[in-house]
């Protein structure tokens, strides 16, 4: 297929991304490239255009719908059935040869693919035992991933798999944007014309890559350079030594592209911009999660102003600070250990430049958009029903519940000779012991059901408004997590389902336009209503996780049936304790005399309990985020 080809040289901007891809093409040991940036900024375009400049003249794509047998290879069903031969069809990893293996939307790929692909890249081979054959394949491909962080980010481990990290950004300069449009018009008008126009530029790049590759083997990093690389990594607080290795490999590619066979400190400086951004962050993540982060760390003006003093380590403060502060005396001493390096290398510049590289969690422009921290990882779980993406197969269970035909045929293949000898004239004889069922995976969200006190007690109106804010915010980020939200309010003599469990922002906006408050506090009815809702959800889909968030001051004073309101609330609470839901009680009781009923109910339900004098959107969100992370 040739469609979609675009000229690498014609692409406007994205200098870092283009450079990163070149480095990877020159030196496949660079560790692979991960490109992160908003949708529509040209990530796929630039990677696809690499096919035109790569000496291999090709790239391979790992489509989202790939199954594992096609990625890693498997028994060739055709020859197995025909002659009982055990022949392996090589997987994508092998077929890619020395080319780039492009994982577009890498954050949406099936669960373990990124890991498996990156591990085998690192090792240079993979071993697989399946379909009755054991084999080992050597691989030489280069992994390249692209993702738009608003669909969820990769785990630190997965991020770490990639040697190089680069971002694309929205261009805010009208002139340059217009230039992109003009280029597109030119391309739409005459695609071949554009390719021809830039062909010589592309060919020159290919020549440079080939020349640089030839130089690469001559480049042996001097001791001083290795030391410098180590210093850079130490300063960035990297764990392990993989950072140094990638730093040196990238630096080698930089030198080779410049036509040199020796390394200079500047090469390390430049390499750091590609190798460090996604690694440095780990340090911050190891610290106990601070819920304030989720909201305040986006406040770019005062990034470190309110950080506790003990976290102000050298590297940290520089990494976090946008307007990088002056380096402390200590740093200079470290670098000064090697005089020659002091002249050339410029650590401080590197680190202040690094501070400007937007990490996935920061690529979201908080001035315009409200998105809660990138920490929210996608929940992917193996699906037990027949829904979800088909990722692999298993012989488990001799019943053809969700039959994987290809795998079943493969399982049956080796026995065909014997079975046919027994006198059947069927083409392929399949027995129950051959059955292979599909393993499916799906992204599953959480159902968040709010049960809120809307009675006349103080601050009900405010409380409801705050909860509404939290619900809308949760829904806006729900497309990432596939979460649904619902709201039950209780007041007067009954509980009311104000918002049925939904993923629709529009519906929530409509349903929550008016928030009636006032009247007495029939908590038991609220809990009862929650029980009914939960039962409904569970009967529809058992695999869903449900979280019940009860917000009340616990001053129960009404029940529909006229018996003791507290006794009834307790008995409903006891029933809720048996539901599979995770329950959170947010206690808004305040004043001199506290009855502590909410706390007591929380104990009855086995719920997490948060006393909160003032219910605000942010405090509710913070608690919910905490719960979601725990699931």
């Amino acid at each position: 297929m040739r469609a979609g080809e675009f000229s690498f040289s014609a692409i406007v901007g994205m200098e870092r991304v283009k450079r990163a891809l070149l480095l990877q093409l020159v030196n496949p040991a660079c560790g692979g490239v991960l490109i992160s940036g908003p949708s529509g900024t040209g990530k796929s375009l630039v990677v696809n255009s690499v096919a035109g400049i790569a000496p291999e003249k090709n790239i391979f794509k790992l489509p989202l719908g790939a199954t594992e047998d096609m990625v890693f290879g498997s028994l060739d069903m055709e020859s197995a059935l025909a002659g009982g031969n055990k022949r392996v069809i090589p997987g994508l990893l092998h077929r890619a040869g020395r080319s780039i293996l492009f994982m577009d939307n890498v954050n949406l790929l099936a669960k373990d693919f990124v890991r498996a692909v990156c591990s085998s890249y690192r090792a240079g081979f993979f071993e697989l035992q399946r379909d009755g054959i054991a084999y080992r394949e050597n691989v030489e491909f280069s992994p390249v991933g692209a993702m738009s962080p608003e669909e969820g980010i990769l785990s630190p481990w997965e991020l770490d798999c990639f040697g190089i990290f680069v971002t694309t950004e929205n261009i805010l300069d009208a002139e340059r944007r217009a230039q992109i449009s003009r280029l597109w018009l030119e391309y739409a008008d005459n695609p071949d014309g554009l390719l021809v126009k830039y062909r010589s530029a592309d060919e020159k790049i290919t020549d440079n890559i080939i020349k640089a590759r030839a130089l690469l083997s001559e480049i042996v990093p001097a001791r001083a350079i290795c030391l410098y690389a180590a210093q850079v990594c130490a300063k960035a607080n990297l764990a392990g030594n993989i950072g140094e290795i990638y730093l040196l490999e990238v630096a080698k590619a930089i030198a080779a592209l410049a036509g040199r066979h020796w390394l200079m400190p500047q090469d390390i400086d430049e390499a750091a911009l590609y190798v460090l951004p996604h690694r440095m962050r780990k340090n911050a993540e190891n610290q106990p999660p601070n819920p304030e982060d989720d909201f305040e760390d986006k406040d770019r003006e005062h990034p470190t102003a309110d950080a506790p003093p003990e976290s102000k380590q050298e590297g940290d403060s520089q990494m976090n600070a946008e307007n990088s502060p002056m380096p402390s005396q200590g740093d200079r001493c470290e670098v000064a250990e090697d005089n020659s390096l002091k002249e050339n290398g410029n650590l401080d510049k590197v680190f202040s430049a690094l501070a400007n590289v937007a990490m996935p969690r920061l690529t979201i422009d908080t001035n315009k958009k409200l998105v809660i921290s990138g920490r929210g990882r996608r929940l992917k779980s193996l699906s037990k029903d027949k829904h979800g993406r088909y990722v692999g197969y298993t012989p488990k269970g001799n019943k053809p519940l969700d039959l994987a035909i290809d795998a079943t045929l493969k399982a049956a293949a080796p026995y065909q000779i014997f079975r046919k000898a027994q006198g059947s004239n069927q083409r392929v004889i399949i027995r129950p012991e051959d059955y292979q069922n599909k393993i499916r995976e799906k992204r599953s969200g959480i159902n968040l059901l709010f049960v809120v006190d809307a009675s006349g007690s103080m601050g009900a109106r405010q409380r409801m408004r705050m909860v509404k804010g939290a619900i809308l915010t949760l829904l806006m980020e729900a497309y990432q997590r596939r979460d649904s939200v619902g709201l039950i309010a209780f007041r007067r003599d009954r509980a009311e389902l104000l918002l049925p469990i939904t993923r629709s922002v529009e519906l929530a906006q409509k349903k929550l336009q008016e928030l009636p408050v006032g009247g007495r506090t029939p908590l038991a009815e609220g809990l009862e209503c929650a029980l009914t809702q939960l039962a409904g959800i569970t009967s529809r889909d058992k695999s869903q996780r449900n979280v019940l968030i009860i917000i009340t001051d616990g001053r129960v004073n009404s029940t529909y049936k006229g018996d003791d309101p507290i006794t009834r609330a307790v008995s409903t609470a006891k029933r809720l304790a048996f539901s599979q839901a995770d329950i959170v009680v947010i206690d808004s009781e305040s004043g001199f005399v506290r009855l502590g009923i909410a706390k007591m109910l929380a104990q009855e339900m086995g719920a997490s309990y948060y006393p909160l004098r003032e219910v605000t959107t942010q405090s509710v969100l913070r608690i919910v985020q905490g719960i979601k992370q725990g699931i």
């Binding site: 949708s39 529509g40 989202l64 790939a66 608003e150 217009a178 829904h387």
Partner: protein, 340 residues
Amino acid sequence: MDRKALYPFTAIVGQENMKLALILNIINPSLGGVLIKGEKGTAKSTAVRAIADLLPAIQVVDGCVFHCAPTDEMTLCDDCREKIALNTELATSEFKMRVVELPVNATEDRVVGTLDIEAAINQGKRQFEPGILAEANRNILYVDEINLLDDHVVDVLLDAAAMGINTVEREGISYSHPARFVLVGTMNPEEGDIRPQLLDRFALSIDVLGEKDPEQRAEVVRRRLAYEADPEAFCAEYNDEQLALQARILKAQSRLGEIRVSDALLNQVAKVAIEVGVDGHRADIVIIKTAMAHAAFAGRDEVNSEDIKIAARLALPHRMRRRPFEEGQIDWAAIDAMLG
């Protein structure tokens, strides 16, 4: 074949935005589709089927499952490419654009295509069985209630729509083929949201509302009844209008290559896109493409600011970010002022 005549496109009452969006997508099939938001019973699927029916048949490679265009070498499938490499003449046949439906409960293997089970079991052969995306090549891919589609199906749809190629690596099959289609999705926003990435793939979006004017409503019903009573006679009534629209669309199609956009307008579009804060460059490009199709439809050779304004109204709303307590309203007066 005894097929009931389809309801004519020109007989649809009102819904001007939807009709325009569909027409522009037909004039330039690479525009990127349209998302129709609204409730049931607003003639969405009627309009989509009617627009496909309006056009004359296109030339395709005879016997090719992907209905390759014989004259467009860029988008040929591997089989057709091979034939050309062997200097085989590509036989052509006529093919009428179709509406290929992707049902909400479609499984991934049906969408991308998979191992041909019959060939596997009967002959022990590994053979590709084309799926919905193959069928949709050069057609309209219609996804009713696209917001209810399974996540992983959306993923593969995005993958294919992005590059116009469907890459299959599953169940022993490694295959890729062209998948260029006009994506038309419908949704009722109250039944759940749609992922922004998928939203961004739609070039245009429109809100359809039920007709409010009693006169118009009565007209809708009157025409519907007349059509149900005697489809052939009803269609005959609209024949002239249908032919006139068809001619206009075909003319616009042939004119499309000639349309010019001034640098000043390109700049203005860029400024508007920056102003409203959309992600990426799709908005810019879509506005320009749409404006070009609109200019062609209006019979002009040069895009003017009116074209851009209309295009912006179709291309921007669904690309806006929403925040709690805000409806994501665009200040059209300000944008119109920017566009002069």
